[in-house]
């Protein structure tokens, strides 16, 4: 935590409005949030022992439920997907639209498959 001020010193200062996200932002956000949260996230991570938060390598979450919440929750609330009861093909269709039309291009192919698996299993036609 004592590292925090140093991140902020690395911050390049005033930028033009609507500038790109500067390098190092993630580390800043990670550090800021980890101060707020302590090790809660790490502890929650699949029951594995908490990993130390490293400045330039924020933890990559791989549990399907977390992937769904993380990536889908960026743009819209999760109530909508949770209200759906769709088969695999339709979830694939939705995912394709989110990536191709709504710009969720950061979700890797592997992550997409894991999210589709999760949604099909938990929000499929037979789900309560």
């Amino acid at each position: 935590m004592s590292e925090l001020p140093r991140f902020w010193r690395l911050w390049p200062g005033r930028r033009p409005v609507r500038a790109r996200i500067p390098d190092g932002f993630i580390a800043v956000a990670a550090a800021a949030l980890s101060v707020l949260m302590g090790n809660a996230l790490a502890a929650e991570h699949n029951g594995k022992p908490p990993k130390p938060m490293v400045e330039n390598a924020p933890m990559v979450e791989t549990a399907p439920k977390k992937l769904f919440e993380t990536h889908c929750g960026v743009c819209h609330s999760l109530e909508l997907p949770r209200s759906q009861r769709l088969d695999r093909n339709t979830w694939r269709w939705v995912m394709d639209d989110m990536v191709n039309k709504f710009g969720a291009t950061w979700i890797t192919g592997k992550q997409q498959e894991l999210i589709i698996d999760y949604l099909t299993e938990n929000h499929g036609p037979q789900s309560p």
């Binding site: 935590m1 902020w8 005033r14 930028r15 409005v17 609507r18 500038a19 790109r20 996200i21 390098d23 932002f25 993630i26 800043v28 956000a29 990670a30 800021a32 949030l33 980890s34 101060v35 707020l36 949260m37 809660a40 996230l41 929650e44 924020p58 933890m59 990559v60 979450e61 439920k65 977390k66 992937l67 919440e69 993380t70 990536h71 929750g73 960026v74 743009c75 819209h76 609330s77 999760l78 109530e79 909508l80 209200s83 759906q84 009861r85 769709l86 088969d87 093909n89 339709t90 269709w93 939705v94 989110m98 039309k101 709504f102 710009g103 969720a104 950061w106 979700i107 890797t108 036609p125």
Partner: protein, 441 residues
């Protein structure tokens, strides 16, 4: 605590540096001050998960901060309470973007009060709408016209106006009744309202601008910021419908400036057609020399196959056609579902019927699963495209579980179906409305 406050300030500064709007800063402050931000995290909330992006994090955040927005996950908690003011009792399908409807029994009024008019958004609510601030707003009419126009709200309000009751109904209203289920907001039956709208006839504006012979279609643009990197929401209508006298550029709803969630300061009202034609937060109409071809006019959005397809299938895009008018439909607004009564007691039944470009001919009611029917009393609408109202009385002689069914017919003889015909995105749902009643049970 002191440390968190510092971080709050630092994050806030970061947002300012990246051009966050005042609106988003307010949301950020709300979230941070209420600590909902933190509270939500432990319960699997999404804010913390920003940390989990890994290699894609920068791209994800760039799309948001680069446009001066804070991530949805951070804003959602604040918006849950902040944005849905003035709509008590609304069933919220989704807080971001805000989408909500009212249960049928809350839609009993002849003219839908603003507080009970549904909300369907593809994008976010513009800051101007929330602040009810007309400063700087203009409406541009351009494209295939001889004299492009740019009008202030005052300019618009000085033109001759018309006032109509008009049904606006989301094209997906009824989607929850599709089987197999389809994607999209699960509207049941309440994504419709028939409020009173005042505004300038679109045809007056188009005549003032002078349509060129090449004019074929309108394209409506609004101020609502899109979500993610979606194309800004835009749809349009054929020139004939634009020139129809009930098509309005509306600035009053039920005698007042428009509610923020219903399109302040100005929206299009295309009565009888699917709601997406009635662009909210309007600031530009482009007259096009071909059918409007935005994202929401093409593909599977607001389109249905030109022939019936097997339920659950996905026909090729080439057979999808643009949705226009609604079709015959009715809604029982009294009694509410699962109302309890006693044998031999009379029970009032009431509701509305509407028919897109057609007229309602009759509404029949049944309390025995369609074996016997009787006609309800039908009241004519205030004007074309407004709701018809139906009234009747029923009585149950024996205890048991009953359903009141309503079935409307248009002047062509088209009636509501008993089973919901299926299309891939769940549009134009008009299966008959069934209201359960419990008699001495």
């Amino acid at each position: 605590m002191k440390k968190s406050l510092e971080i709050h300030d630092q994050l806030r500064e970061l947002l300012v540096e990246n051009g966050a709007s005042g609106d988003d800063l307010d949301r950020f402050d709300t979230v941070m001050s209420r600590r909902r931000f933190l509270a939500g995290l432990g319960g699997g909330g999404t804010a913390l998960s920003l940390l989990g992006f890994g290699a894609g994090a920068e791209m994800a955040l760039q799309g948001l901060f680069g446009r001066g927005m804070i991530p949805a996950a951070w804003a959602a908690e604040a918006e849950k309470t902040a944005q849905i003011e003035g709509k008590p009792g609304m069933i919220v399908h989704n807080p971001r973007p805000v989408n909500g409807e009212f249960p049928p029994h809350l839609l009993n009024d002849d003219v839908t009060p603003t507080t009970r008019h549904f909300v369907r958004n593809n994008g976010l609510v513009p800051q101007r709408a929330e602040a009810q601030n007309p400063q700087g707003w203009t409406l541009a009419i351009e494209g295939e016209v001889h004299r492009p126009l740019k009008l202030s709200l005052e300019d618009l309000m000085q033109m001759p106006s018309a006032t109509y009751q008009a049904c606006i109904e989301c094209g997906g209203n009824g989607r929850a009744n599709f089987n197999p289920p389809v994607r999209g907001n699960p509207w049941d039956r309440g994504a419709i309202g028939c409020s009173e709208w005042q505004g300038v006839r679109l045809r007056d504006l188009l005549q003032r601008a002078g349509l060129k012979d090449s004019a074929v279609y309108t394209a409506h643009d609004g101020e609502d910021p899109p979500i993610g990197s979606a194309q800004p929401f835009s749809r349009g209508i054929p020139i004939d419908k634009a020139m129809e006298e009930h098509t309005l550029i509306a600035y009053r709803m039920n005698g007042k400036p428009l509610h923020a969630l219903n399109g302040y300061p100005v929206r299009v009202v295309v009565p009888g057609w699917i709601g997406s034609a009635s662009q909210k937060w309007l600031n530009r109409i482009r007259i096009r020399d071909k059918v409007h071809d935005s994202d929401k006019m093409t593909g599977y959005s607001y389109r249905i196959p030109e022939y019936p397809v097997p339920p659950g299938s996905r026909p090729p895009e080439s057979v999808m056609k643009i949705l226009t008018a609604w079709q015959i439909k009715s809604l029982i607004t009294l009694p509410a579902a699962d109302t309890k009564t006693s044998a031999g007691k009379r029970m009032a039944v009431r509701g509305h019927a509407w028919a897109g470009e057609n007229t309602v001919d009759r509404v029949l009611l049944s309390t025995d699963y369609g074996v016997n029917w009787k006609a309800a009393k039908l009241t004519r609408p205030a004007n074309k495209y407004a709701w018809y109202h139906f009234d009747s009385e029923v009585r149950f002689d024996q205890k048991g579980y009953y359903e009141i069914w309503a079935r409307a017919f248009d002047q062509r003889g088209n009636a509501q179906p008993f089973r919901q015909p299926w299309n891939p995105r769940g549009y134009l749902g008009n299966v008959i409305h069934r209201v359960p009643v419990l008699v001495d049970v």
